[in-house]
């Protein structure tokens, strides 16, 4: 266990976001605690404000109110690339890839933060830039190996199946050396087998000391992987707790069953 005095890894205090008349996020507070390597999930029905919340944490959208703290430092309103450099890195829902590039080249490209050569050195192709380039590729291979993706390291992205592309997205997130990794629906569109594999890898990443915050729809996977769950409903946080507590929380059941009733009504 870490010492009590270590700073809170990631903390959102009273985050709100207003789009005109719509309050997308209303006074949401979460904390990842002080223990590294935990998996925390944010769940909620469609339109609950999960994506907005994620964007505010990573600087892609400025909160109307509230603060975000990373290891005790206020990062509210910083540019996304600066937040990434401080160790809070997000992945994306849609698999955006370069069809012609190999998996290895994707991860090497995503390893920009570790580059030491200046842009001018890169342009001139100096020895320092070449060394950087070699190191970035070596690092990329290391990351792919860690995620059991080294078998497809040299495969061109357009030939990879969907499940692999999802994992490649996570590998690109890992390339930025995150301390906290935010996964945006990492299991969406995966078949059960692929989901199991991805869940296993998520746990592996967490065990390596990277704290994970994920937004997900797949309840089974969330219940299986999470140490802690926060539930959003129409922009408000209605519950938090362990998977067991959430499963038995009346408000949560109501929020989700209400949705299921509608489904039956169709």
């Amino acid at each position: 266990m870490m010492a009590q005095s270590s700073p809170v890894i990631l903390e959102a205090r009273g985050l709100s976001k207003r789009f005109g008349g719509l309050l997308a996020n209303d006074d949401i507070s979460i904390s990842l605690g002080t223990t590294a390597g935990q998996v925390t999930s944010v769940i909620g029905p469609n339109g609950a404000g999960k994506s907005t919340f994620f964007k505010m944490l990573t600087g892609f959208c400025t909160p109307s109110a509230g603060r975000v703290h990373l290891f005790g430092a206020d990062i509210t309103g910083l540019a996304p690339h600066k937040i990434s450099a401080r160790g809070l890195v997000r992945t994306f829902q849609e698999t955006t890839i370069f069809p012609e590039l190999s998996a290895l080249e994707h991860v090497a490209l995503a390893r920009q933060l570790s580059r030491q050569a200046s842009d001018l050195q890169v342009f001139a192709g100096t020895a320092a830039a070449r060394r950087d380039e070699q190191r970035m590729r070596a690092d990329a291979l290391e990351i792919l190996r860690f995620l059991d993706l080294d078998s497809v390291a040299n495969s061109v992205a357009k030939t990879l199946p969907h499940g692999y592309l999802r994992l490649l997205g996570i590998a690109m997130g890992m390339a930025a050396s995150p301390k906290v990794l935010l996964l945006d629906e990492p299991y969406a569109g995966l078949n059960p087998e692929e989901t199991d594999r991805a869940v296993e890898l998520t746990r592996k990443i967490a065990n390596s000391g990277v704290s994970i915050l994920l937004v997900e729809h797949d309840m089974k996977a969330v219940m299986k992987i999470s140490d802690h769950i926060h539930v959003l409903y129409f922009g408000k946080k209605i519950a938090e707790g362990t998977p067991e507590q959430i499963r038995n929380n009346e408000q949560v059941i109501e929020a989700y069953l209400g949705k299921e009733d509608e489904d039956i009504g169709l």
């Binding site: 994306f92 920009q112 830039a129 930025a176």
Partner: protein
Amino acid sequence: MNDDKRRDLGAILLVLCVLLVLPLAFGQSHYLMSVLMNCAGVAIIASGVWLTFCIGRINICQAGFALIGGYVSAILIARLGWSFWLALPLSGLVAGLCGALIGSVILKLKGIYFSMLTICLTEAIRLAFLNGGSLTQGAKGITGLPQAFAGDSALPLYYIGVALLALTLGVVWRVHYCRLGGIFRAMRLNEDLAESFGVNVWRYRIMAFAIACALGGLGGSYFTLFAQSIYPQSFTVEHSIYYMLFCFLGGLEYVSGAMIGAFVLTILFELLQDFQQYQSLIYGVLMIVVMLTLPNGLMALRLRLWWLPLRKGEAQ
């Protein structure tokens, strides 16, 4: 080096070599030399537009920066009596700085909004020079620049054009195929994704745009040299649109695309001189046909061109 890259390099070297040896046979033809100088000039300018495509922005203000480059050299040479050797690089620099300044404001916009704004920018820059008072002399422009080289031969200026084109292509090639090009591609694909892995997209956007504008300024300055004059009408919205079309026609995936498009369309336009009033009509129809049948540009043409390699999957 993969096939596409080899094909790209092949096309560049081929055009440059042809440009180098052509004057041996046709050096006396002032008409042909001026057509080729024109081609080299627009290829330099259009390469800048091509570079802005790399970061996912359609740039229709390149004529404005060519105008800036042209006026800077005209003022330096005609007013202050500077040598064109100094005026040429300096006009590229000034245009690049203007690009960085203007870019830091307008590059926040994306897609059609950016393009619309750049069209307006071309016009705004033209109007600025039209109303520049005694410095730019309004619609009369600045004329009577001294000849760059004494004597009747167009060759020295021609070779300067070829050298500038080679320099331009070298810079764009290097940017595109080094790590910076990878970052630009990531930004074109998804700026948020690029930013999430720590790329300062604001910085790279401005960098790409400034280089593009500098190339525009350099090309504009070169035009001023051989035309020995510059007017607000020298570079207009129409020109900006042509530069963009050159890139589409040549191919957006190849560094040589802008140059190929510029040479093919400019020479074609000259060949169509004989048809007078139908010139633009034929030109337009040809453009439509090429764009429909070759959406990836002429450089993607599935032909075995001498020693240029075939694209993947074309081997017999």
